[in-house]
Subunit: 416 residues, 2 copies
Amino acid sequence: MVQKFGGTSVADCARIEHVADLVCKARRAGDDLVVVVSAMAGETDRLLGLGKSICQRPSLREMDVLLSSGEQVSMALLAIALEKRGQAARSFTGAQVCIRTDRDHGKARIEAIEEGKLRAALADHCVPVVAGFQGVNADGDITTLGRGGSDTTAVALAAALKADECRIYTDVDGVYTTDPRMVPEARRLARITFDEMLELSGQGSKVLQVRAVEFAGKYNVPLRVLSTFKQGQGTLITYEDDVMEAPVVSAIAFNRDEAEITLIGVPDQPGAAFQVLGPVSEAGIVVDMIVQNVARDGRLDFTFTLHRNDYSQAMEILQANLKNSGAQRLVGNDRVVKISLVGVGMRSHSGVATRMFQTLAGQGINIRLVATSEIKISVVVDEKHLEAGVRALHAAFGLHQPQPRNQAAGKGGRAG
Amino acid sequence: MVQKFGGTSVADCARIEHVADLVCKARRAGDDLVVVVSAMAGETDRLLGLGKSICQRPSLREMDVLLSSGEQVSMALLAIALEKRGQAARSFTGAQVCIRTDRDHGKARIEAIEEGKLRAALADHCVPVVAGFQGVNADGDITTLGRGGSDTTAVALAAALKADECRIYTDVDGVYTTDPRMVPEARRLARITFDEMLELSGQGSKVLQVRAVEFAGKYNVPLRVLSTFKQGQGTLITYEDDVMEAPVVSAIAFNRDEAEITLIGVPDQPGAAFQVLGPVSEAGIVVDMIVQNVARDGRLDFTFTLHRNDYSQAMEILQANLKNSGAQRLVGNDRVVKISLVGVGMRSHSGVATRMFQTLAGQGINIRLVATSEIKISVVVDEKHLEAGVRALHAAFGLHQPQPRNQAAGKGGRAG
């Protein structure tokens, strides 16, 4: 089994000792374990702050060197705490266990993992404690996987070692129908599919990193999200099970930090979309939703959403490329949010969109953009409508009540 | 040239920016530079504290992982500060530039350095910023060189790269005739020999690490100690120059943290000293002075000094081995200090010891132990006599006044 402990789980020495207890308990239960840790909570931000205080746009290579020191501290401390308990342990940086990545500093992707050192440690009855979030590229330079990358490290290790389960310990006790801080009636889901989780992760549900879920789905690594501080089964993320009676909507995700940009009057010709987005993605800006409607009079409006932090940079780039793109005008809004309904049951049920639009209209909420996927509908609305919208939808889709597959002994359901 | 900046020189972002200015200035002067940095002041102690708060005797392997994260932070920050100034830079951990050491965690010794990455960076007009204090052993495990090990890293790099000078930037502006905090009349030395410096480093003068000086002497790397914060020439440490008119005594060192242990009535037979010290050195305890006088009635008294921190452990070990060693009794004192006179001129001058003993007697100071080397005389006295002893000796050997080789334009002297 692979256990991963996030930053809040290793925030100080007392918590690290608690994590060591959890690890020892799992070892006594007979499991071969590999542990992955994040940096102590706040440490990555502290380091980021140091770097930014020297230079607003520091070298990405050097930021990776800087940030990766955070996990080095927590992994050593956890190894020390384990050895204190008589449990042999050995900590490893990403470079030491050869978590090979590409060269994309700050958001590198894992390409390969050499299992040798880990297998050797396990053979010695040692618990390997591996730094999450970091790897090493072909030049031997330290890379990082981007925020939340420790989850990806854990899943990648679980896949490489063919672990039976990858447990992500965090400060929440599972995946909820929506954020309980916004909707007190929100409930914990006992199970959820990779696809649903993927849509939730991508939509701003901060429990797991998207790439980690992708990875887990791709290599069929059962993932379990559970709390470091509270006993419980958490939420198991697996492939869809035919026995499951899938609810139409499993959960509602939302994202506060959205911005939208529209290019008005782009000539309707092949390559138009590329002309618009090319320079933006070259700058490394991640574009989320893309909406383009049918052209009128040979021109079309092209809208996309992106993270609010990238908004001004993207606007600058597009302004500079306005002539090239052939667009007439550029408008943007960085005070918008996105609300998404997610559920594998959506596939076989029509009318979800209708009920969603009706519910929002009932609250007087104007919908700015709509995008859909197989198991998701997302709308962009003004940020002032976020809370009312999420609450109304949570009630309208019956998420206040337990649903079959999430009941421990519900009719047609499964134990979590 | 190799430049090394200690912890106080990189204590915060403002100081790191100042260091970046110094590095850029040297680069503009046309020097090819390799920079070595320590952890930010206080960081190593903070990390040590974290480790110790979990376990009083943490695994040495894991402590090295923990502590070595400190330099990783400062090296990245300095590289960022250099790049902000338009100076290409690239930071490297000890492992990345293959500073190969033995397996002795916590006080590893450098065995080899691969110059490849450094030469490549220099060829790219980059300033390599290398983590001091750390290396990597043959298993790929992180090692550290012990306190002050960054000096050793700098000298080892200077030797490997055949640098013309290794500059150790620190918070003092050079080597003094004695600690100016104790003797206000103490003066900065413009030059000093490796041998003298070695004796001073070993005797508790905290300016440079002993191993760094040994290394520098062995590979004939001219070392210069100078201040990060105050302009000046510092103190140059080189081989003895025949032109130099060597003073009889160059400097006075002292060590506050001494303890002495005596085994009384050890049988006077071959192997006696080994019987006594074997178990102590096996425990990794460093023994400093060893004094043994002529035997009387087939028995002798065997005394040695050691760091005060190791005192209780050594006493325990010796007590447990008392029968084996054949000694009659064990006595110890951990409230003693050592005062040493150092000077290459001592070789050709008799009477230094006499004047030393006379001076101390004049202050009513009782001498407990005496040991001598070619260019040094050390005495152990009660700790209450430290200050009066050092002051009296500083005056008695004329160290208040500038001496020929340390005057910028003195008769027979050399410019510093």
